[in-house]
Amino acid sequence: MNEKKYHNYTVEEFLNDQDFIRFVKYNLQDDVAFWKGWIEANADHLENYNLAFKELKYILSAEHIQIPPFFIEELWVDIRASITEREVKKIKIRRTAIWISSIAASLVFAVFSAWYFNSDIVVKTAFGETKIVTLDDSTKIHLNSNSVLTMPRAYLWKKVRSVSLDGEAYFRVRHLNVDPATIQRGDLFVVHTPTVQIQVLGTEFNVRDRRHEAQVALISGRVLVRSMKTGKEFSMIPGNVFKNNMLNEGITSSAAQSISPSSWIEGKLILKQAKVSEIIAAFQDRYGYKVVVENQNLLNEVIDGTISLKDENGVLFTLSNILNVNIKKEGSVITLTSRR
């Protein structure tokens, strides 16, 4: 046995000593001999030993619970039976079939949810065509011709309502925010276009992003536009128009726009000192033709008034009269030639 300094031991130390516990508990011959010798040698340091001995004896006096006769044997038989039963069940094909089909079912569900949560709904418009899309939160999007709107299938499940746009659309976003002081992530609605990101709560605005030039016109509410080109943010109020092109970007007023940004949803172009080149660009975007003007000077002429966009011939007829040109349509190319 290790030479321990038992004479310095506290009661607690005795009670935590494996050798002491073994001695008190089992009275093994060697232990008894050792402790007998130790007690004789330390006759005047026995106080803690005696207390610890008393305490441990007291602990060990706890009633022994009688095991019912044959309990151990019978329980073993039951355990064996239960093991065998389980193993038989395991081989049963029906079990396996249920198991496999439940796995298959959860796989189908997993694949479905993965698809549901990660896939997008894409709405496209052809030239000359417009569409009105209503989202699950009753936000309405009026999609202009030759545009692509992409939104998550699980639109309402996403933390932030968000859609992507390439082309032009007019948004009427459902307002979800209740308390203007605390804006939740779920209150936000975000439009991504190739060159800007527009963050709103609930507003009406028109977005156009074509040929890497964006125009955001705010009708009501407030929006925050972030330029993807420069990373700058612009806070807009109603009547503001944000524009960017290759060279610069910034806010102007809607009154300064030569073509009213949202007039297209009523099927017309409201013009105020609009250049012919701008009208032609709007026409090309809408109907997909390439318009060639022989006399380049005509492009800088300005026009006031309203042109109907409802059908392509109406626009061409108006232009031909105002500009005094002949119209020649060859496939997808329209040539405007000055009348002599």
């Binding site: 004896k57 007291y58 095991i67 239960s82 093991i83």
Partner: protein, 203 residues
């Protein structure tokens, strides 16, 4: 395979993990009696003790591919039993609230050898003692049982009782303290008792 009695618990455990049913049986035979002791103290319902024991050993067999190698088999068995008992307690908690609160229960009643006390003093003394015993919480009783009957070390106990090692030391110290209070009340009984053990075992 012929199992040698001289195999250690840890060696038997290794055989069990290899799929040896005889090893499971030997482990069962070695540990079932003390597990019954512990289980009967932990759970009031003796049918539940039986079910949980069955659970533990059937589980060892069916999950043997995933079981870890363990050095202290006894401690592992007790831990497994306690988990099973906890599940049982949780499952019954919903249904019965009238009966004994099984959630917080550990039966450990210390007794001095009553034949040593004069007959007329017995009832009075035992009443005093059992009243004092109520001061020990179930968890204090449990740690005393695991420490001095199962002779587990603090690390194993901390695992079984879901405590930190520091917390285990603390709980044991507090249990001994409470025990000392009981013993003071019970001094007379103990004096008689001590005389008897001294006579029997040492000097």
């Amino acid at each position: 395979m012929n199992l040698d009695n001289s195999l250690t618990d840890a060696q038997l455990w290794g055989h069990l993990l290899d799929g040896d049913m005889e090893a499971l049986e030997e482990i069962y035979k070695r540990h079932a009696p003390s597990l019954f002791q512990y289980g009967s103290r932990l759970l009031y319902n003796s049918e539940a003790v039986r079910d949980c024991m069955q659970d533990v050993f059937v589980g060892f067999w069916s999950k043997r591919a995933k079981l870890p190698m363990v050095s202290n088999v006894r401690s592992y068995i007790i831990t497994s039993f306690r988990n099973s008992a906890n599940n049982y307690r949780l499952s019954t908690k919903k249904f019965k609230d009238s009966e004994i609160d099984d959630q917080d229960y550990f039966d450990l009643t210390f007794s001095v050898e009553l034949e040593l006390i004069e007959k007329e003093k017995q009832n009075e003394q035992t009443a005093k003692l059992s009243k004092a015993m109520e001061q020990l919480t179930p968890r204090q009783k449990e740690i005393i049982y695991l420490r001095y009957f199962e002779e587990l070390d603090y690390e194993d106990i901390s695992e079984i009782m879901d405590l930190t090692i520091k917390g285990t030391y603390k709980l044991n110290a507090r249990a001994l303290e409470a025990l000392r209070l009981i013993m003071k009340i019970d001094k007379a009984l103990l004096m008689i008792y001590l005389i008897s053990i001294n006579k029997n075992h040492i000097l």
